[in-house]
């Protein structure tokens, strides 16, 4: 576990990190994301002491790293810099075996570690190890960087925007590989990216930073559904949710105060209510909020005696939705049952309503202003 305790960093009078407190659990892939200059690289470099805090402490497994031998600390942490940081004057083999943690080992052991590292990253052996970085493709270079960082088999891996220079396809492949690698090895990975989609895709926990502070630190799903403030919302882009429709659930987009009526209420009154609320139907619930059915204006109009209770023209809802159902499932229901609205019901009780227009606006990527219709 990596812990930041009220860490502040000032450089030439500029506060780069403001009182950061953060816990990175062991064995998780935590992503630091945010606009450039928000302090993510600084935060990362605090872990291997390339940067020292102005105030506050950084702990690894409860021990203050400032009191440890810095060389030993760094040898135990794998580090992948931005822009590769490969040693151009050394071969593939040279780049891996120069790592201090393995440089002092006997040659055979070094060779073994190198082969293991290359294998983990899907890099070939043989001739490949004699090549120089300038002879490698960007993807190979990136893999080599990570292999180099893994050569010492560290428990913690720090990665500073490692996939920045890759093509979209290569990037996607590397992201998948990293997630698999991390899951298999159980290493603690701290990963920096400036591309929010990447963060959302790979993170176990996502730390959104801004101007030296942590704006929100939670599971990606939670952040997507409930951004802590305007900055986070803007940064993930309200749109972000729309790229992963599975994340949008009925409870996120439903009208929370649908217009309801009791079963005994006369139709005339109900029509008035509809007119005032500008709706064409009412949901019928009893005193305990149990959902009973729907009354539509057209049904009432067809009725001669409008003094009767709505119960007589009430129809059962063709379908209802549970609060957890996602937008795709809702869409399917709309299509299947050819309805305009779906009540959201939990344990028989009505908790909300999803209308066609709710879904349409959600999907058309406009900000949703949920129409709160007043309840009488």
């Amino acid at each position: 576990m990596i812990t930041f305790e009220q860490v502040t960093k000032r450089v030439s009078g500029v506060t780069v990190l403001r009182d950061i407190s953060l816990e990175i659990p062991t064995g998780e892939l935590v992503v630091l994301a945010g606009p450039s200059g928000c302090g993510k690289t600084t935060t990362l470099k605090l872990v291997n002491r390339l940067i020292a805090p102005t105030s506050g402490r950084v702990l690894i497994d409860g021990k203050n790293i400032a009191s440890q031998d810095v060389i030993a600390l760094r040898k135990s942490i794998g580090y992948v810099t931005q822009h590769t940081g490969l040693f151009d004057h050394l071969t593939v083999r040279g780049n891996i075996t120069v790592v201090p943690a393995i440089a002092l080992l006997p040659a055979t052991e070094q060779e073994k570690r190198m082969e293991l590292a290359l294998e983990q990253l899907g890099l070939p052996g043989g001739d490949f190890v004699g090549r120089y970085p300038y002879q490698l493709s960007p993807l190979e270079k990136q893999r080599l960087c990570i292999a180099r960082a893994l050569a010492s088999d560290p428990e913690i891996l720090l990665m500073d925007d490692p996939f920045a220079g890759l093509s979209a396809a290569d990037r996607s492949d590397m992201q998948d590989e990293l997630v698999t690698l991390q899951a298999k090895s159980g290493k603690t990975v701290v990963f920096i990216t400036s591309v929010i989609e990447e963060a959302i895709k790979i993170a176990d926990k996502l730390c959104v930073m801004n101007e030296g502070s942590v704006a929100q630190y939670a599971k990606p799903e939670e952040i997507l559904k409930a951004p802590a403030n305007d900055f986070v919302a803007a940064y993930i882009g309200r749109n972000r949710i729309f790229e992963r429709p599975e994340e949008i659930r009925a409870r996120d987009i439903m009208l929370t105060r649908p217009v309801i009526t009791g079963p005994e209420v006369p139709m005339l009154k109900s029509i008035e209510k509809m007119r005032l609320s500008k709706v064409d139907s009412l949901l019928v619930t009893d005193e305990e909020n149990n959902f009973l059915g729907i009354v539509k204006a057209e049904h009432i109009h067809h009725c001669d005696n409008k003094d009767l209770a709505v119960l007589s023209v009430m129809r059962e809802a063709k379908t209802t939705a549970a609060p957890d159902e996602n937008i795709l499932q809702l869409l399917a229901k709309f299509r299947q049952y050819k309805v305009n609205a779906i009540p959201v019901v939990e344990e028989d009780k009505l908790i909300g309503l999803i209308t066609n227009s709710t879904v349409v606006t959600t999907l058309s990527q406009q900000s949703i202003e949920l129409e709160e219709v007043e309840e009488f």
Partner: protein, 220 residues
Amino acid sequence: MSLGMFLVENSSFVLECTLKELLLVLITFSLAVALGVPLGWLCYRNEKLKGPLLELIGLLQTLPALALFGIFIAIGQQGLITTLLLALIYTLLPVIFGTDKGLHQIDRPTLDAALGMGMTYRETLFTVMLPLASPHIFRGVRKAMVAAVGMVTIATISGGGLGFLILDGMRAHNMGMTLAGALPACLLALLADLGIGVLEKIFVPEALRRTPEQELFISK
């Protein structure tokens, strides 16, 4: 007197001058590198140092080498020290510059990677920084070598090297003598350049030698 005749009569002397000059060149060159590289590294670490250092040496460089030499002689200083000092003024700067430039063009991520993996500063300096800076350092070293030959030749006009033969030959209208000094001097310069090429092959990592640059340098 023709070159041939002069050589026949004074072969041992010409040889002596050549060897003395060669020795001086080697000493000058070695000093320039031994002092220049660390100084260059200091400049790299300490931007503030660079300014005054360059100004000082730049100032000395504006003075005509021969004139400076004349001043040294006038105040009674002659011999080895004078020669070396004079030559050093002109040979240090390229090495310092080359080292500083070479170190500066190493990008930060490479250094971060080295330190971040647990290298000490010294390890980083010798296994990463200097090798990566070596192409630039050698460019400076090459210039230094050319300057060294030039400077030593000038400094030896009062004796102890080929400069003496050149100048005395000119004064005595002895073409043979002049050539006996000038030709070996040129040869020496070319050989020195070749020597640098060999050193380069040894010290500059092969991966960094890929784009050779030809540079013109007008020696004093």
